[in-house]
């Protein structure tokens, strides 16, 4: 299980950092080439971190990476290679961003309630997954449904974080949502 868990974590890091670097490369390179360059650069970075643990800061800072976020990053990377999916409305992105920032603030002790603790198991974790799955069904959002299912699978298999909510979302969701909103603002 340790080997599978390690592979999963590296794939998540590759998807997320490949996506981040491809956004930067997109300033200079055309679609497709930017994604390939981003993935290659992320692969080199991760290989370096595997070889020299003393500089393995990406994993130290970001692991465990959310599988849900990694799946969305991978799907967005796929756009550069011709994969098409329906763009999300700006209102949805804004709602998710606001809700996630409130959740983070609660995690930092700003509010007395601790929603992160509900992600370790029991009814709240199950209800959250069902609610998100239901929303995906109503919106016919295959990617969201797949992200929720992936998060549940790795959570129950004790891969990555032991908290379902960490597998659904992570801090890297914030730049991803901001990039999405920026695109909507520019009409893309």
């Amino acid at each position: 299980m340790t080997a599978l868990s390690t592979l999963y974590e590296y794939l998540c890091l590759l998807a997320v950092f490949g996506w981040l670097l491809s956004r930067l490369a997109g300033r200079l390179l055309p679609g497709g080439a930017a994604e390939a360059a981003g993935l290659a650069a992320a692969g080199v970075l991760l290989a370096l971190q595997w070889a020299v643990p003393q500089v393995a800061l990406l994993a130290a800072i970001f692991a465990p990476v959310s599988g849900g976020v990694a799946l969305f990053a991978a799907a967005d990377l796929g756009r550069g290679f011709g994969l098409r999916h329906r763009p999300r409305p700006a209102a949805e992105l804004l709602t998710v961003l606001a809700a996630y920032l409130l959740y983070l603030a609660a995690g930092l002790g700003v509010f007395a309630v601790d929603p992160h603790a509900a992600g370790y198991g029991g009814v709240p974790a199950a209800a959250t997954a069902v609610a998100l799955g239901g929303y995906a069904l109503v919106r016919r959002d295959t990617l969201l449904a797949a992200a929720v299912l992936l998060a549940q699978l790795v959570w129950l298999a004790d891969i990555g974080s032991e908290n379902l909510f960490d597998n659904l979302a992570g801090v890297l969701l914030v730049p991803a949502l901001l990039v999405g909103l920026w695109r909507r603002a520019r009409g893309r």
């Binding site: 868990s5 643990p53 800061l57 692991a63 002790g109 603790a117 959570w155």
Partner: protein, 396 residues
């Protein structure tokens, strides 16, 4: 036509995925149910009240110009003390050191490095840069090869994480960070002794200190994975809970103030640690912004080691409480200012050993040394009698 067919197949896929999510949610309820919170309430080992009283200093180390701090007792047939040591606190050269004590508690048998930051980072999967080590303690009351280490990869203590480390034959067999915070898994630290729960899980008193500061009781299963957590306070109040179990479902947490109050904080649970009362300052128990150590005596009272001063940690005092930690009676002053310089005594740890005796360890010389004493119940009772006599004389 092709568009319609594609839309229809998309609907089918999303229906299938949503159904799978619902099935997995049910499976989640079966595999990750809300845990039952109940403490393993066991009687302490025989008190030995009839034995002759004894109090021995079993360790007194000093490293001029270096930092030695945050001692923690590893309970085993041959007890050990661990602490962090380096050129300064949070320096890259900090190691976790260990001193094996003789079976009878007489002196250190051997002092040697136990853990280095690089060993922990190298054992993590994926490998991670771990640059600095801090408070480290025994993760399992019955296994001194399982540790919880406060680790830093970036920034200061507010950016720390907690790593579960397993040792095998003196080397790090595995290490992983506990997932405790949604914010990059940062700002959780450990300091005080862990507790056993009735179903075999372990409750770890931890704390958060990024901007806000509060205590947390983290529940680990036998594999060392987090299964639940409950906050002890919120906002910026108190940290480093020393949790003392007083019954299967009751416990008190004695906490270091972090809001400038300069009084010890107390919180309690009546549902096995699932929820906690709001921490409140204890009248008559000053605190110079320092952690305390406490444990339950076999007669139900609580023994606490603390700094009895609102400004300086220049004393180390023992006190007992017979009302669940609400009021305290000082029984012995082990250190006080004027005996040595710098007179700064901090981070006590207190444990009951297998033979019923007590081991108390703390840092001395303003994080420049480690001292440990071993004493028995008869000595505690003797100190109480002496304090009672002196109070009677003063009243006369």
């Amino acid at each position: 036509m092709r568009e319609e067919a594609r839309a229809g197949s998309g609907r089918g896929v999303v229906r299938l995925l949503a159904a799978a999510v619902a099935v997995m949610a049910l499976l989640g309820l079966a595999l990750r149910p809300a845990p039952q919170w109940e403490f393993a309430f066991v009687s302490p080992p025989p008190a030995g009240e009839a034995d002759p009283p004894f109090f021995r200093t079993v360790l007194d180390l000093r490293a001029p110009g270096r930092t030695m701090h945050s001692p923690s007792i590893l309970r085993a047939a041959q007890p050990r003390l661990i602490w962090f040591e380096g050129s300064r606190e949070a320096a890259r050269d900090v190691r976790i050191m260990a001193a094996e004590l003789g079976g009878d508690g007489s002196g250190p048998v051997r002092v040697a490095p136990l853990l280095a930051a690089g060993q922990i980072g190298g054992a993590m999967r994926p490998r991670q840069a771990v640059l600095v080590l801090g408070n480290t303690l025994q993760a399992d009351p019955d296994d001194s090869d399982r540790l919880l280490a406060t680790v830093l990869s970036v920034g200061g203590w507010a950016a720390a994480s907690v790593a579960e480390v397993r040792l095998r034959e003196g080397t790090v067999a595995s290490a992983r960070k506990l997932a405790l915070s949604p914010f990059l898994n940062r700002s959780y630290l450990v300091r005080n002794r862990v507790l056993r729960l009735a179903d075999g899980d372990i409750a770890v008193p931890a704390y958060f200190e990024m901007g806000n500061a509060f205590g947390v009781l983290v529940r680990l299963d036998r594999q060392g994975r987090v299964r639940a957590s409950s906050r002890i306070g919120s906002g910026k109040v108190a940290i480093q809970p020393a949790v003392v179990v007083t019954g299967p479902e009751t416990a008190v947490a004695l906490m270091r103030p972090f809001d400038g109050t300069r009084q010890l904080y107390r919180a309690e649970t009546r549902d096995g640690g699932r929820s906690w009362s709001r921490p409140a300052p204890l009248a008559g128990v000053p605190n110079p912004d320092a952690p305390v150590a406490a444990l339950r005596l076999d007669d139900g009272r609580i023994l606490m080691a603390f700094n009895d001063d609102p400004r300086r940690a220049s004393d180390l005092t023992l006190a007992v409480s017979d009302d669940g930690g609400r009021s305290w009676k000082r029984i012995a002053r082990l250190e006080e200012s004027g005996r040595e310089a710098p007179a700064v005594y901090r981070y006590p740890d207190l444990a009951r050993l297998d033979d019923g005796s007590f081991l108390l360890a703390y840092s001395t010389f303003a994080k420049g040394g480690i001292r440990a004493h071993r004493f028995n119940m008869a000595w505690i009772l003797e100190q109480e009698r002496k304090q009672g006599d002196s109070r009677s004389r003063a009243e006369r």
